[in-house]
């Protein structure tokens, strides 16, 4: 048996579970943000920045950033293992995706904490 070393948790069952846990976090955030924008059509900068200054929102948003990293890794890993059969090309694609995910997480942290 070959042990996968590029999958997220090196276990299909673990990846399966994490994909669903992160999906729930991402969907709650999606519903919250769309709902927030719908009930605040005249949103101001003060309101918007106050929202992201609140600790609970930063906790929620950081959770979402990490979920984006996890969820997209597992998803894009599944897609790339299905369609890119050449090991080198697949590794390159997965590395590129991993790099982009890392950039997203760091970028998001920077925006949230206004560094």
């Amino acid at each position: 048996m070959v042990t996968q070393i590029t999958s997220f948790g090196r276990s299909g069952l673990y990846d399966w579970m994490m994909q669903r846990v992160s999906a729930v976090v991402l969907s709650l955030y999606t519903v919250f943000i769309i709902g927030y924008l719908l009930v605040n059509p005249e949103l101001t900068y003060e309101q918007w920045s106050a929202l992201f200054e609140a600790t609970w929102m930063r906790v929620f948003s950081l959770m979402v950033l990490l979920s984006i990293g996890m969820h997209s890794w597992i998803g894009l890993w599944s897609i790339s293992t299905d369609y890119i059969k050449a090991t080198g090309a697949r590794f390159f694609f997965q590395s590129l995706c991993g790099f982009v995910m890392f950039v997203y997480v760091v970028w998001g942290v920077q925006v949230l904490w206004g560094l």
Partner: protein, 110 residues
């Protein structure tokens, strides 16, 4: 291609679109929290710039589709829609619900 296969491949395609589209969302998010001017720039672009509206509609559409297909997936994990007929119906419902949400999003943006 059977409708269930179309629904499945669209789930994958919208996932890839979202991964790329995130760059756009992050940029808007960054700018909107940077300063009052940045916030105004984003609001103004979302309200007046056709290209920006089109891109945000595209990304939101991918998100809505991916969301609906994801919920269907969770139902399937719990053992629903696994027979040929119920699976077909769930796939059609997925397309229909996503379509309605995407149209509503378009109305909201324009």
């Amino acid at each position: 291609m059977p409708v269930t296969a179309i629904v499945s491949i669209l789930h994958r395609i919208t996932g890839i679109i979202l991964f790329v589209g995130l760059a756009f969302l992050f940029y808007a998010f960054d700018l909107s929290l940077e300063s009052q001017e940045g916030f105004d720039t984003v609001v103004n672009a979302f309200q007046t710039n056709f290209l920006v509206k089109f891109v945000i509609w595209g990304v939101v559409s991918a998100l809505l589709y991916h969301f609906v297909a994801g919920v269907k997936h969770l139902f399937m994990d719990m053992g629903y829609f696994e027979e040929l007929e119920s699976g077909r119906k769930a796939a059609i419902a997925n397309l229909a619900i996503a379509f309605v949400l995407i149209v509503l999003a378009g109305v909201w943006i324009w």
